[in-house]
């Protein structure tokens, strides 16, 4: 092929293509932001070597705390998007617990505007209630007009049964999805970790699994009542996974995600009072970890979502009970999933990519993400070498923060290139621009 035919074209060469349609080998030529050819022995102006790699639709994170506006010392849209690109993501869904909360059209516009300068596609959720206070519905229709498809008060759950019922009814009129952080604060107030033998030993307030499960149970009931599409964020307990499975079997339009830390870490990690391991929902027991892994394998849990939650080192040095919850995830999720769910579980690499790419893209109604690798589709791709083993360090990568709970862990799978909207934003593991 010549330059004149495909100006500024890129070819991804020698990889194995994996998408919702299955696996096959082939090269991918990209030009003008789109996939223009898929086949053998393709050429272009620029070649990205994908030898030994899986070429997947770009990863999509349903659960990213970008901290902007309001907490730019911990993360910005620019740094968070860079971390995401390095982790193989081509789109992230920003969570609305910023300062101010993303609860109005004007804040949505600001975030989307900042996102346009980022390396990847930054989309945002909107809050269900004004200020995420759980008292009054936020202007969901105005935000939906700007392209917001997912609404959540993440960081806390909507406590009022009546308000959640009305939010669900209202959402059905807009065709949007409500995503719930399931935590009954009456049972979790004053707690810092999972309730169990470790909280007893450490003298820290513990919240029982039921603090999550009661809200899962309620929202399943309300989804049945209202017909709303409900997405369950960061499911962490065996009981939650069971309820989701039963509700799906009964035909309700619900989906659910799990975070990497909930299939890799347990409450025993809190033993040294290192607040890096403090997160909501809290790290649970090994049997919960097993249930989350099984839920991902069975498809009960549709997506792996990072809950990437940057916090400054100072805030993570506070006493455990005072420190903010959350941990980084964008640069580790794919490798943790290959390591724990494939090597240490029952899934295949392709299963993992489904949970990280096309399934979350569908949940968030991202039309140009998670698409088949085919001519005419937007060129959003993740190229990962599944054979590289590496050790996670404490640098925090491209994030402004470094609250990494996986330091020293050996993992398999390293992102080599990320292509977003036809641009190579990561080449050979280096972010571009």
């Amino acid at each position: 092929m010549t330059e004149s035919q495909f100006p500024d074209s890129i070819v991804i060469k020698g990889g194995k293509l994996v998408d919702a349609g299955g696996e096959r080998s082939g090269d991918v030529r990209i030009s003008g932001g789109q996939i223009v050819a898929v086949g053998e022995d393709l050429d272009a102006d620029r070649v990205l070597d994908a030898g030994g790699c899986l070429v997947s639709p770009g990863l999509v994170d349903l659960h990213t705390h970008l901290r902007e506006p309001g907490s730019e010392e911990a993360e910005t849209i620019e740094t968070g998007a860079r971390a995401a690109a390095l982790g193989g993501y081509t789109a992230v869904l920003a969570m609305p617990n910023t300062k101010p909360a993303i609860d109005s059209a004007s804040v949505v516009k600001d975030v989307l505007e900042l996102g346009r300068a980022a390396l990847i596609d930054v989309q945002t959720s909107g809050a269900i209630t004004v200020g995420r206070n759980g008292e009054q519905l936020a202007p969901m229709a105005e935000m939906a007009d700007l392209g917001v498809h997912v609404f959540t008060d993440d960081g806390s759950g909507v406590q009022s049964d009546a308000l959640m019922r009305r939010a669900m009814e209202y959402a059905t009129g807009l065709g949007v999805t409500l995503a719930q952080h399931c935590e009954v604060t009456a049972l979790s107030a004053g707690t810092a970790m999972n309730e169990g033998e470790w909280s007893t030993k450490l003298g820290l307030g513990g919240q029982p699994a039921e603090a999550e499960e009661l809200m899962v149970m309620r929202d399943i009931a309300l989804a049945r009542l209202t017909g709303a599409r409900v997405h369950f964020l960061h499911m962490s307990t065996a009981g939650s996974v069971d309820m989701i499975a039963a509700a799906k079997a009964s035909g309700l339009p619900i989906t659910a995600e799990a975070a990497p830390h909930h299939f890799t870490l347990t409450d025993a990690c809190c033993a040294t009072y290192d607040a890096t391991f403090k997160v909501h929902p809290p790290l649970r027991t090994s049997s919960d970890v097993d249930a989350v892994k099984a839920g991902l394998a069975s498809g009960t849990l549709d997506a792996i979502a990072t809950d990437h939650a940057p916090h400054t080192p100072e805030s993570k040095e506070l006493p455990f009970d005072e420190a903010p919850p959350g941990m980084l995830g964008l640069e580790y999720a794919l490798a943790l999933a290959f390591t724990e769910l494939v090597d240490g579980g029952a899934m295949t690499d392709a299963d993992v990519l489904a949970r990280l790419s096309w399934q979350p893209a569908a949940i968030a109604s991202m039309a140009e993400q998670g698409r088949p690798i085919a001519v005419g589709e937007a060129a959003n791709l993740c190229i990962v070498d599944p054979s590289v083993t590496w050790i996670i360090d404490d640098s925090g990568g491209a994030s402004r923060s470094r609250n990494v709970p996986y330091v020293g862990r050996a993992v398999r799978g390293k992102v080599r290139h990320t292509v977003c909207a036809g641009e190579a934003v990561v080449i050979d593991g280096e972010a571009q621009g």
């Binding site: 007893t200 030993k201 003298g203 040095e317 006493p319």
Partner: protein
């Protein structure tokens, strides 16, 4: 190491060595001038992020009787109120030159966090619900002095176990020293899950006559609003050591309480004054135990809590009034 953070850091023989040193300290404390220059020139900082007059006084007294300088620090008069972090506080104090920091904090784990940032010996004077090792040592020392050994004793710990650092440390210490423990409390005041080697009872009356030690914990009013029990009156009727219950204790049984007591709630006022109530012995032993801990951490080689192979002895020569500088 060179810290005392929890009882779980200690082996049984280390606890017994602390007791042996505390015996020597008790001997010093009985003197007309109870003061030795063993730690002269060393500085002990007491960092009480949470107020505690009794424990702070006990550590202050212990350090001064060993001739150490004491640098006091309390939240009400400190930069913490202005938003300074614990790490900045500890680094500031350490820069002034201290050999030990005695830490009390309302949050569990803070002494362990401080030990990661400090080269000084860190002594936990109570953190959250987690641990209060010197209280456990002084309690075990008090029991050992009465019964010679804790081996085979039946100790009942009565009251608000779940919120009690004293209970956690005592369970560890008493168990290590061979005692059998029964926790006596309503289910709401017990941890939801635990893997301690203890018996559980929800009735003080059921276990009372079998106890060698009846250890009562302080009950706090605020637990009523948390729906952990309905009223102090009902608590006392079920779990208070009333006069009638105290009469049913065995002839050699003793009564203990870490203080401060709620007379008329967990312990009847009259019962607290009985000869078999060792509450004031506990306070006196607290000074000896804290002297022993300070000595072993600061006066002995620093390789381990109890020191290495090196020779050492407690200075037994009383100092004259003129030599006791630095303690004010």
């Amino acid at each position: 190491m060179g810290n005392l953070l929890t009882i779980s850091d200690l082996q049984r023989d280390e606890i017994e060595e602390i007791f042996d040193v505390a015996d020597a300290m008790a001997e010093i404390n009985r003197r007309r001038i109870p003061k030795v220059p063993t730690l002269r020139g060393q500085t002990v900082a007491t960092l009480f992020f949470e107020d505690s007059t009794r424990t702070k006084l006990s550590f202050d007294t212990a350090a001064k009787r060993l001739g150490a300088d004491v640098m006091g620090f309390s939240v009400s008069s400190s930069a913490v109120k202005k938003g300074e972090s614990v790490r900045d506080t500890i680094e500031t104090i350490e820069a002034m030159g201290v050999q030990a920091v005695v830490v009390r904090h309302r949050s569990s784990g803070v002494p362990l966090q401080i030990s990661r940032w400090s080269d000084a010996a860190v002594i936990n004077a109570g953190d959250g619900w987690h641990a209060h090792p010197t209280q456990a040592l002084l309690d075990a020392f008090t029991i050992r002095n009465r019964f010679d050994s804790l081996d085979g004793l039946h100790i009942g710990i009565v009251g608000d176990i779940v919120h009690s650092r004293v209970a956690r440390s005592n369970i560890e210490a008493f168990t290590k020293l061979g005692a059998q423990i029964t926790l006596v409390a309503p289910p709401t005041l017990l941890p939801a899950r635990m893997d301690w080697p203890v018996e559980i009872s929800h009735s003080l009356d059921d276990v009372l006559e079998d106890l060698d030690v009846c250890y009562l914990l302080r009950v706090q009013n605020e637990r009523i609003s948390e729906a952990l029990f309905p009223s102090l009156r009902e608590y006392t009727s079920m779990f208070g050591l009333t006069t009638r219950r105290a009469d049913r204790l065995g002839p050699n049984a003793i009564i203990m309480h870490p203080g401060p007591m709620n007379r008329g709630v967990e312990i009847a006022g009259e019962v607290a004054e009985r000869p078999n109530s060792l509450v004031t012995d506990q306070v006196a032993n607290g000074v000896s135990i804290r002297m022993a801990v300070l000595f072993l951490l600061l006066g002995a080689p620093r390789e381990s809590l109890i020191g290495g192979e090196g020779e050492r002895s407690v200075e037994v020569v009383p100092v004259s009034a003129g030599e006791s500088g630095g303690s004010r």
